[in-house]
Amino acid sequence: MNEVVAPPASAYFIVKDNGTPENHTLSILVDNEPGVLARVIGLFSGRGYNIESLTVTETEHEKHLSRITIVSNGTHSVLEQMRHQLERIVPVHSVTDLTVVAHAKGYEKPLERELAMLKVVATGEQRLEALRLADAFKAQVIDANVTHFIFEVTGRTSKIEQFIAIMAPLGLVEVCRTGVAAMARGPGIE
């Protein structure tokens, strides 16, 4: 065997991005055709961007248009790249950074809502406590028998997180969330 030596080097110049990462919500209007979601997600994984939340469905049936809402995290320059890279995808019609739009209008965030379903299996005092709290969160009971509830709750991500945290010790066994749907405030179309 040849002699073993100290670790090697590579051929790249690496610079650190010193910006502070922020969460932004992007709204992407695309042709609803096979593979379009794979293109968007592949771009994120291929270029090392984060996906915190992803929501997609066809929103205009006659035009076969889908809206993809992605919450991502990155520095200013990464977020700008993300938008431009998304715009290069052929079936992408438009990309709007709703967080930037919200900031321009003096808001911290765009309007954002998520829906979650929580299955809670409990009896006795725990069961009553779960029901009381659900009421406080304006969650609806959409299925129940003597041993369980399924709650439906809508709201901002922080509210959903809080509701899940509160339910956890009360017999929470399963959670399903839609991911964020978002829209800019005001009459304008972004």
Binding site: A11, Q81, H84, V90
Partner: protein, 599 residues
């Protein structure tokens, strides 16, 4: 049969016939391909017509690179036709290569019948899945009704905006199915695709204003000028003439401004000239025209042209501010932007800063006097740099229109440094991906488009073995491509990096068991030549150029020569390693331990 004159719009035909008709309607004369089960219907159509010539390659990767060479030398899309499964996967390297260098390719792949997709059928692979990240766009065509639109869209998307490769995957049953053909107009129906044509005039105005104030300007041009077309190169030359700004170029942009031009600084970047890199480092206004601040160009980003204002012209908005923050970004086609720029420059009677510019030119002359491309040619061993210079002279003597392709390695850098490129579209090299094996098939593609021209692949002894099989293609079609191997018996570039970064431990970089290239050429029915004597080199080069058919020229050069000048890793443009300073000691310590760990 004269299919061209007739209008086939609205006619019923099979999917396979549609493929041929769409090719005709998009002006295709040559395609590069390899048959197999899933494309037989298309091959059958090819057999029964004469409008389109099919060039049978020997490996699908070769088809891809040949199409790239064809595209780069003609400005048209290169077309590839391959079968499903292994045929498709073999094209992946060429597709990624074309994506990184923005080369328009239309690759048509066969696929198993739609009813079998997803069943792991014989020679099935997820072609659109595999090629999604290495194409500008791709399609799986599940119905013959979609086929004409997709084919025309494929050409539109490949050739407009920032060009790139596309894949159209056509299942075998779709090739057999009958449908109604539609003409190219249908491609306009996709409205989400909006390639940029114009540009923001305000941005151009600010750019011109900044340029007029520059005291130490430099133009840094790239492959985007070539892609934009001949007019862009003409306008670039005019801009340099008007402004008297010095100009350097990336590897991909060589030829847009002539190497013999008065303001030419030579190539910039890792193996660029001293004057080009120093001018970049010290400039106060940088005009980037169709280049993308690649990491081989910038060196250390935090020390890149630290005191400059930067203008960036690019057709792709995502290129602007991607790597380097610029002061003025102009999104648009180079030819369009340069035309506006020149018009404004003239209309406003802009004058450059004559006095300051004179000093700047004088400073540049001093850097040029440093002669960073110097080397010592002795009488017993051929230096690789000398070989390239002699090759250039020989090509000039021949009076032939000359196209140069390269493989990847030291020879590629020497070709870029020492061969003078005077025209755009006459230099094809794998820049972004750095694909060994690119050069020879690319040369085959160039020669298909330019039968009378002199086409030379400047190769390395290792790279040439990656796509050697295409010699059979060259012989079959009587393509007199010349392979000029700078044989240093090493993967020279790898060896150089090992010397610089890895204590000269030459791990697997010595080329062992290299074939006898002369015999190899003869085995293919080509001509083999061998030269290791500087005194006979010129005569043998003339023989090579005058040979009727393809040639492999085994040119033995100094084995351990290094490619200089060089910006070592972790260093800035003004910290180059120059050939006369590159003693073994200097090389060993060129990259300090911090640089080694950092980069």
């Amino acid at each position: 049969m004269n299919a061209k004159k007739r209008d086939f719009d609205g006619m019923e035909m099979t999917g396979a016939a549609m493929v041929l008709q769409a090719l005709r309607d998009n002006g295709v004369e040559h395609i590069f391909g390899y048959p197999g089960g899933a494309v037989l219907p298309i091959y059958d159509e090819l057999f029964q017509q004469d409008d389109i010539q099919h060039i049978l390659v020997r490996h699908e990767q070769g088809a891809g690179h040949a199409a790239e060479g064809y595209a780069r030398s003609t400005g048209k899309a290169g077309v590839v036709l391959v079968t499903s499964g292994p045929g498709a996967t073999n094209t992946v390297t060429a597709l990624q290569d074309a994506l990184m260098d923005s080369i328009p390719l239309v690759c048509i792949t066969g696929q198993v019948p739609t009813s079998l997709i997803g069943s792991d059928a014989f020679q099935e692979c997820d072609t659109v899945g595999i090629t999604r990240p290495c194409t500008k766009h791709n399609w799986l065509v599940k119905s013959v009704d979609d086929l004409p639109r997709v084919l025309h869209e494929a050409f539109r998307i490949a050739t407009t905006g920032r060009p790139g490769p596309v894949v159209v995957d056509v299942p075998k049953d779709v090739q057999f199915a009958l449908g109604i053909y539609q003409g190219p107009k249908i491609a306009e129906s996709r409205i989400s695709y909006k390639p940029k044509v114009g540009a923001n005039l305000e941005q151009i105005k600010s750019a011109v204003a900044l340029m007029a104030k520059a005291k130490k300007p430099v133009i840094y041009s790239g492959g985007g000028v070539i892609n934009s077309g001949d007019k862009a190169s003409e306008l670039l030359r005019e801009l340099v003439k008007e402004t008297e700004f010095p100009i350097t170029s990336t590897l991909m942009g060589l030829g847009a401004y002539p190497a013999s031009g008065e303001r030419w600084l030579g190539m910039l970047g890792m193996h660029g000239t001293y004057e080009a890199n120093m001018a970049m480092h010290d400039c106060d206004v940088m005009v980037n025209i169709g280049a993308r601040f690649d990491d081989r160009i910038t060196g250390r980003i935090d020390a890149f042209a630290p005191d400059s204002k930067k203008i960036h012209i690019d057709i792709d908005p995502s290129s602007i501010n991607k790597i380097v923050h610029v002061d003025i970004g102009v999104v648009g086609d180079v030819a369009y932007v340069l035309e506006q720029m020149l018009a404004l420059w003239k209309k406003e009677k802009k004058k450059h800063q004559a006095k300051a510019l004179k000093d700047w030119h004088a400073q540049i002359a001093k850097w040029q006097a440093r002669n960073s491309l110097a080397y010592n040619q002795t009488s017993d061993v051929i230096m690789p740099q000398h070989a390239i210079e002699r090759l250039y002279e020989a090509s000039q003597r021949s009076g032939k229109e000359t196209f140069i392709t390269t493989e990847v390695g030291q020879h590629q850098m020497w070709a870029a440094q020492y061969f003078g490129f005077e025209k755009p579209n006459h230099w094809m090299t794998s820049g972004g991906l750095g694909t060994m094996g690119y050069g020879f098939p690319a040369a085959v593609g160039v020669q298909v488009a330019h039968r009378e021209a002199l086409v030379i692949d400047i190769a390395g002894d290792a790279s040439i073995q990656m796509m050697m099989q295409e010699m059979s293609t060259a012989v079959q079609y009587g393509l007199p491509v010349k392979i000029f191997i700078l044989n240093n018996q090493h993967m020279g570039m790898v060896r150089q990096w090992q010397q610089l970064l890895h204590g000269n431990r030459l791990s697997s970089s010595y080329s062992e068991a290299v074939p006898d290239f002369v015999k190899l050429a003869e085995a293919y029915g080509a001509t083999g030549m061998y030269c290791d004597d500087p005194n006979t080199l010129d005569d043998m080069l003339d023989d090579m150029i005058n040979a009727e058919g393809p040639v492999i020229f085994d040119c033995r050069v100094a084995n351990l020569a290094n490619c200089f000048p060089m910006i070592p890793s972790g260093k800035a443009h003004n910290e180059m390693l120059l050939p006369d300073e590159a003693s073994d000691d200097a090389i060993a310590t060129a990259i300090d331990s911090k640089g080694k760990a950092l980069v």
